[in-house]
């Protein structure tokens, strides 16, 4: 490639990312889901809480594309609104885990003395299945959307910590870090400016995967009754509520589940594409 290109870095980044068509499709699906969730009040055909008992349990039709639920509410509308809670929880979990995991991982990777302590804790937490630890934490904290975010953040932080730590261990030994240290750059500045910037790619890849896991886990928790209270529409609570009508009105379960599958699948495809692009070495490992 010639040294000087007129293209902006953002465009170059997207061009490389979308070289695989499937990643482009995934990003488009994701954008549609996110836009629907953001624009919910303006584009939803009905009110998410508007009950019309005369219209209850109607199968999918031209007026109600995804049918209606046991209170005659429009399922499509509720899925669009449910995306707000489900994706919102996912975003919040991603932000919390990125912050906590990065800080812990940097500390573990940079300060040898604290490494053993932090990593033993990480090992212990990762010896419990995600969903089990999450159920336990929500049980202790109380079931609410905020506590679901807190619980899932605690559950997924060890993954980020591990990734950041192992990258930090590699980067800290590189000559440019040594050079910075020799020049008298403070530890804080080395960690934030030199190491953090160089471990950003694996963090970004983890973020997309954790987003997908969080959407799946939130649905699982809400389904088990240990998550978001049932009166808030999320994809998980919708499936939980629709379950008992499943033999008469399978659309109550089918469509919210498909929303989860589409969201999680496109996030994982995006994560895969990012990993391919940012670290071709990892491609072989997985």
């Amino acid at each position: 490639m010639s040294a000087m290109t007129a293209r902006s870095p953002v465009r170059l980044f997207l061009q490389r990312l979308f070289r695989r068509k499937l990643v482009l499709v995934a990003v488009i699906i994701l954008l549609v889901i996110v836009l629907l969730a953001i624009l919910a009040p303006w584009i939803s055909p009905y009110s998410p809480t508007g009950m019309r008992v005369s219209q209850r349990l109607r199968p999918p039709s031209l007026t109600n594309w995804f049918g209606t639920d046991e209170f005659g509410r429009d399922v499509l509308t509720r899925i669009i609104y449910g995306g707000r809670a489900s994706l919102g929880i996912g975003v919040a979990v991603v932000m919390c885990t990125m912050l906590a995991g990065t800080v812990l991982g940097l500390i573990a990777g940079y300060f040898r003395a604290l490494d053993a302590v932090i990593m033993r804790l990480v090992d212990a937490m990762m010896s419990l299945p995600d969903i089990l630890l999450a159920i336990f934490l929500v049980a202790v904290l109380g079931a609410s959307a905020g506590n679901v975010v807190l619980a899932l953040s605690i559950v997924y932080t060890p993954r980020v910590t591990r990734v950041v730590r192992s990258s930090t261990l590699v980067v800290r030994e590189l000559p440019f870090v040594e050079a910075a240290r020799a020049l008298g750059v403070s530890t804080w500045r080395i960690m934030t400016m030199h190491i953090l910037l160089n471990v950003a790619s694996p963090i970004l890849v983890q973020a997309t995967f954790i987003f997908a896991y969080a959407v799946l886990a939130e649905a699982g928790l809400s389904f088990l009754g240990a998550g978001v209270p049932p009166d808030i529409p999320t994809w998980g609570t919708m499936i939980a509520a629709g379950q008992q009508y499943a033999d008469r009105a399978v659309w109550l379960v089918l469509f919210p589940g498909l929303a989860i599958v589409f969201a999680a699948l496109s996030l994982q495809l995006l994560g895969d594409g990012l990993r391919d692009m940012l670290d071709p070495k990892l491609r072989k490992a997985l």
Binding site: A139, G257, I260, A264
Partner: protein, 313 residues
């Protein structure tokens, strides 16, 4: 080798100790007095105080912790608040469905993942490879409880091939109980096949490029023999690892799946304990499950030495 295994064993015990400590102190964060919870709303203050004393809840937290650890070392996980029996007994009673569900699911996941992974490695880059990779990612994006509900509607309610839920009537034969596990095991196996598929593909790709595979082909062995004996035979270690890891992950997936299918297993026990705030049961189940996970990981390490003579500690 024994020194290394002993070191791994020590590491395992440390992890279990941390899990136990974490579980103990996190439970103490829960709102509400366990004694009051145990006695119900009608209990008098005196009764609650009495019970707090019996359970040592009037002691400082650190003393309670020491006591709890001591009992734990003796295998005592405490008493269930609602089930009127020791936690360890409650868990043991529910172990059978969970064990066989996990076992059948891992069989399903392996039966899907290993052949799919081999196929996509052998036909690398072709349409079948892409279909397998896409399928694996799709499987990992499906919530198991949702797939369970859909399968119940289709295979049990519409087609009537499988029972809708449960573990058979009391006294049901072993075959009948296994029959009840077919549908849940398929769901759990499909959802958990992705990791096995990807690892099998990756390790087969590595092995198929080795010189000895070329030699095997050169001396005129059939392609099937080359792939299965020389290829798969040498890719077994990573595949065993990932099957073991999947087995450990399945324990978590089983919790949700058991609830969907109404199986009286450990998962169901945990979920009802959470809904009833039966903390001793939750604590006990967490410790037992973490123990299983750690043990599986340890067994994987031991198996390495058996399968691959090159691995020496």
């Amino acid at each position: 080798m024994f020194a290394a295994l002993a070191r791994r064993l020590a590491g395992m015990l440390i992890v279990m100790f941390i899990v136990a400590t974490m579980v103990f102190f996190l439970t103490r964060l829960a709102p509400g007095d366990p004694a009051a919870l145990m006695l119900g709303e009608q209990a008098s203050l005196a009764d609650v105080a009495e019970l707090r004393k019996t359970y040592g809840l009037d002691q400082p937290v650190i003393v309670q912790y020491a006591l709890w650890l001591k009992e734990l070392l003796r295998g005592n996980l405490g008493q269930s608040i609602f089930l009127q029996r020791p936690v360890i007994v409650a868990i043991a009673e529910r172990a059978e469905p969970t064990f066989f569900l996990a076992l059948l699911s891992i069989l399903v996941a392996t039966a899907i993942g290993v052949p799919a992974g081999i196929a996509s490695a052998v036909w690398r880059g072709r349409a079948s490879d892409q279909a397998v990779s896409g399928g694996a990612m799709l499987a990992a994006s499906i919530p198991s409880f949702w797939l369970g509900l859909i399968f119940i509607q289709f295979f049990a309610v519409r087609l009537g091939w499988f029972p809708v839920a449960g573990y058979g009537p009391p006294g049901a034969s072993f075959a009948e109980r296994l029959y009840h596990l077919m549908l849940p095991a398929s769901v759990l196996g499909i959802v958990n096949s992705a990791l096995i598929t990807r690892f099998t593909r990756a390790s087969m790709l590595d092995v198929l490029n080795e010189d000895y595979v070329r030699t095997a082909r050169a001396k005129g062995l059939s392609e099937a023999r080359v792939i299965l004996r020389h290829g798969l035979g040498n890719a077994l270690v990573p595949i065993i690892t990932v099957v073991g890891l999947t087995a450990a992950l399945l324990v978590g997936g089983a919790i949700v799946t058991e609830t969907v299918f109404g199986l009286p297993g450990i998962g169901n026990l945990v979920v009802s304990a959470v809904l009833r705030r039966d903390y001793p049961v939750i604590q006990g189940a967490l410790i037992v499950i973490a123990g299983i996970y750690v043990l599986i990981n340890f067994s994987i390490d031991v198996m390495y030495t058996l399968v691959d003579p090159r691995v020496k500690y």
